[in-house]
Symmetry: C2
Subunit: 198 residues, 2 copies
């Protein structure tokens, strides 16, 4: 029996997810074949099935990983000394992500799939919850640091921040002339208005 290094196995699994995210964003989930994913990852066709039972399982692992990444990125932010500055920096980071049309296209593809795939829909909803919980924690931390001046509750504020983020991704998809990285000042001004009433 061949021994498998768990670390190496995880590295290959992640490489396949990276390759799949490229393929899904470029060709769509339905048109992508597992052989395309293997080719993109530089593996021989069929190799994928040592790591995932099906293309659908790759998709679910990809969406689940996205949720973990959001959680890992947001967890430390609310502990920072200046939560409002962390929030604005996080939104800057989101603007950069939204500029990556590969990433924005994949987000759209996944939310479209969620519309007719219960398992995807559940994960998408869970990821949205993770994002909003992270935003809410940041808003509460900013409030405790005396940085807020708003009538909005923390969940309402988190919802509006999510509205702005969703809206920017939707704009990128609808309009090739919309560049989120050129809009960070306006976004910051809106967020400051929402949370600090100026």
């Amino acid at each position: 029996m061949r021994t498998v290094d768990p670390q190496q196995r995880e590295t290959k699994r992640m490489a396949l997810l990276d390759a799949a995210s490229h393929c899904f964003a470029e060709s769509g989930f339905v048109a992508t074949r597992t052989a395309d994913i293997c080719a993109k990852a530089g593996m021989s066709a069929g190799n994928l099935f040592h790591y995932f039972a099906s293309k659908h399982e790759v998709l679910l692992a990809l969406v689940a990983r996205e949720g973990e990444q959001i959680q890992q990125a947001m967890a430390p932010l609310a502990q920072a000394a200046d939560p409002m500055a962390e929030l604005l920096a996080f939104l800057d980071h989101i603007c950069q992500l939204a500029c990556d049309r590969h990433y924005a296209g994949l987000a759209l593809e996944i939310s479209a799939l969620g519309h007719r795939d219960e398992a995807v829909a559940r994960l998408v909803k869970a990821n949205d919850r993770v994002l909003r919980d992270g935003l809410e924690a940041l808003v509460r931390a900013a409030d405790q640091a005396g940085q807020l001046h708003t009538v909005l509750s923390a969940p309402e504020a988190a919802n509006w921040l999510a509205t702005l983020i969703d809206g920017m991704f939707a704009r990128v998809a609808a309009d090739p002339d919309f560049h989120p990285d050129q809009q960070t000042e306006v976004l910051q001004s809106l967020v400051v208005h929402l949370l600090q009433g100026r």
Copy 2:
């Protein structure tokens, strides 16, 4: 030969489009059968083919009608004496539409279909253009009426208004606890901040 009253023909065509919009929003485009659309419209199965060549043609007519409706709704607004008040009233109206989960679901279904159907994508893009042109005309009218105080150009302002609208529809889809009609004050406050700097 049977004579066809063009008025009556148009009425039936519109009734079929209304029925189709219900069916697509509830069951999705793929799962909806033309017989379902006929049943919803109170017509016998197959009747649809006197008016549309295929289910796909129904979908295209539905998206095209949406564009015409946006254009008709927006055209008079920029001629009004108080364009800023018209803009805020229009956004109120959008909040009401977004509350209709049938309408919001259909919007999502159509943008998802646009991701893999070139003809739908073209129409969705054209509708987005119509919306932004309408918003831009309103912003210009408000500017000429001396109502604006902003560094944003009219196209930039229109883009941000579209971002807020898109974001609200995305929130409705993601979160059943988000009620746009309870958010009109916050939305108005954001728009006033964007356009009048307060």
